[in-house]
Amino acid sequence: MWNVFKAELTKLKRPSLSISTIAAVTFVTGLVTSLLFLLVDSPEGNGERGVRIGRDVLALPTGVSLSFSNAAGLLGIVALCIFAAQTAQEYTYGTLRNLLLRQPSRMKILLGKLGSMKLFAIAMVTLSAVLAVSLSYLFAGVKDISTQAWATPDARAALVRTFINVLIATIGYGIFGMILGLLFRSPISAISIGVIWNLIIEGLLSAFVTNIDRYFPGQLLSIVAIGGNDRISYQYALFTSYAFLLAGLAIVAFLFKKRDVAN
């Protein structure tokens, strides 16, 4: 498994993927952070679905990590795309047969791939955290928002908590992408179905059907990222979303182990 992990890192480090991921993470984090701070006085709101997050809330110890947790959903979509593409491309390039010749244990291939992509997700989330905190200070200065509470131990604890939650959510989205990659064996199909499911199907149904978000992994992962909300607890969101994901992963792992490699 360690050999698979090292081999996968060689692929993940390629400049085309690294640079595009850095660009995507920078764009997503920059967009969410700038909207949160620069629209603080906008009557249309600066949060999700028109919610207004005022200066008093942003000045709290949790204010420094607020934009970071708000970016989790979009970071998750980036992770979903990367995990799905990295998995499904082995079928489209025909490279899966090379991998299996050098490592016949299909479970080791899967676990090694997952491990390396988790490390990639950690790098992504760390970059996003650094950018979110830096931009928060920058925009707080621009909009005259007090940052006194951001340097307190409470703020640091909130930032660490948020980092862990965003990481759990991002990896969860990535696992969802990996499941789709193994299932559809095509990066385009896996990514498009994953994005449509998360952004459109889950999003729309959750907006119109009360409490249905309790059963959608994507919605639950975004709740994990913000540490739970008044309707769905953090524990429920974490265990239910990961139960869905692990069940899905077990099914596709079984298929991956049994399926003939004929391309």
Binding site: R97, R102, D260
Partner: protein, 301 residues
């Protein structure tokens, strides 16, 4: 005592739905030989190779690679190098990076990569992205990847596809050298003249069935040699054919020549009989059947 086997399969079959891709195949490949694996498109060559390498599960039958059951590919794959259905690599990585991925995966020494690139004449293009490679270069990289584990058994599916004549000659020499050093080479190709030149063993497939398995020389020896006689005067073609038939040999007129079935020692007798009948021969050539002729005759293609 029989020589040890690099490959042996018994009653090996693979069925996809109602279609039998390979039907009850039986063959053996001795250790250290170069074995050609030939058959028309869709005859089951790649299916067989995939089963031998653990990529697909047989429907029935059994097989062994380097003495280990094909149900446990993890036991023999570290000693097997293969290129199946052409090269497959990551387009955004360089040739060297692609080999590094596979070397790390198999736990092989990455220090030997430049040497392998040099061996397949890609030494100066190892740092170019795979997507910029020509078909021939991709093929060479595929061969380099197959050589990564310093294999005891090398399985190559159409290794000369896309190579120019010089490249084909280099691959032929490389395979011969590997076999001389004890590597068993199992090579499928549609270039039958290539297979005839390099292989000492042969497995021939048609419609998912093994129609020949054994030494190449044995197969070719089964074919009747032919004497091709070309008369100076084309009007003598029929007369010439009758002379051959009178000597107890079958004869066919093809284009401007008479093709007579018979060993080369009949040539002198035939020439004398033609001369005595007043026929001057422009040429008289004994021709031994090639693998291609044999293949077409056996497969009915």
């Amino acid at each position: 005592m029989s020589s040890p086997l690099a490959l042996d399969v018994a009653d090996l079959s693979k069925k996809y739905g109602d279609r039998m891709a390979l039907s009850h195949a039986n063959f053996e490949v001795p250790m250290g030989s170069i074995c050609g694996f030939v058959g028309p498109n869709g005859s089951g060559k790649t299916t067989t190779i995939r089963m031998l390498l653990g990529l697909i599960t047989p429907t029935t039958g059994s097989g062994h690679v380097l003495g280990e059951s094909i149900n446990h590919p993890e036991k023999y794959l570290p000693n097997v190098g293969a290129m199946i259905e052409g090269p497959a690599f990551y387009p955004a990585l360089t040739g060297a990076q692609n080999l590094t991925v596979l070397a790390k995966l198999g736990g092989f020494d990455t220090n030997g990569i430049q040497g392998l690139l040099d061996l397949v004449d890609l030494g100066d293009r190892g740092n170019s992205k795979y997507k910029t490679y020509s078909l021939g270069m991709k093929q060479r990289l595929g061969i380099a990847a197959a050589l990564l584990p310093k294999p005891k058994l090398l399985v190559l599916d159409e290794p000369t596809n896309g190579l120019d004549p010089a490249g084909i000659q280099e691959v032929r020499a490389l395979l011969r050298k590997l076999a001389d050093n004890g590597t068993t080479v199992f090579v499928s190709s549609h270039l039958l003249s290539e297979i005839e030149m390099i292989s000492d063993h042969l497995v021939m497939l048609r419609l998912g069935k093994v129609i020949f398995s054994g030494k190449t020389s044995e197969l070719l020896a089964k074919q009747q040699p032919v004497i091709v006689a070309k008369p100076e005067n084309r009007a003598d073609l029929e007369k010439l054919a009758k002379i051959a038939e009178a000597g107890g040999h079958s004869a066919k007129i093809i284009d401007e020549s008479v093709h007579v079935t018979g060993e080369s020692d009949f040539s002198a007798k035939f020439n004398r009989a033609a001369f005595e009948a007043g026929i001057t021969l422009e040429s008289l050539t004994p021709v031994r059947a090639s693998l291609e002729d044999t293949f077409f005759e056996m497969t009915g293609e």
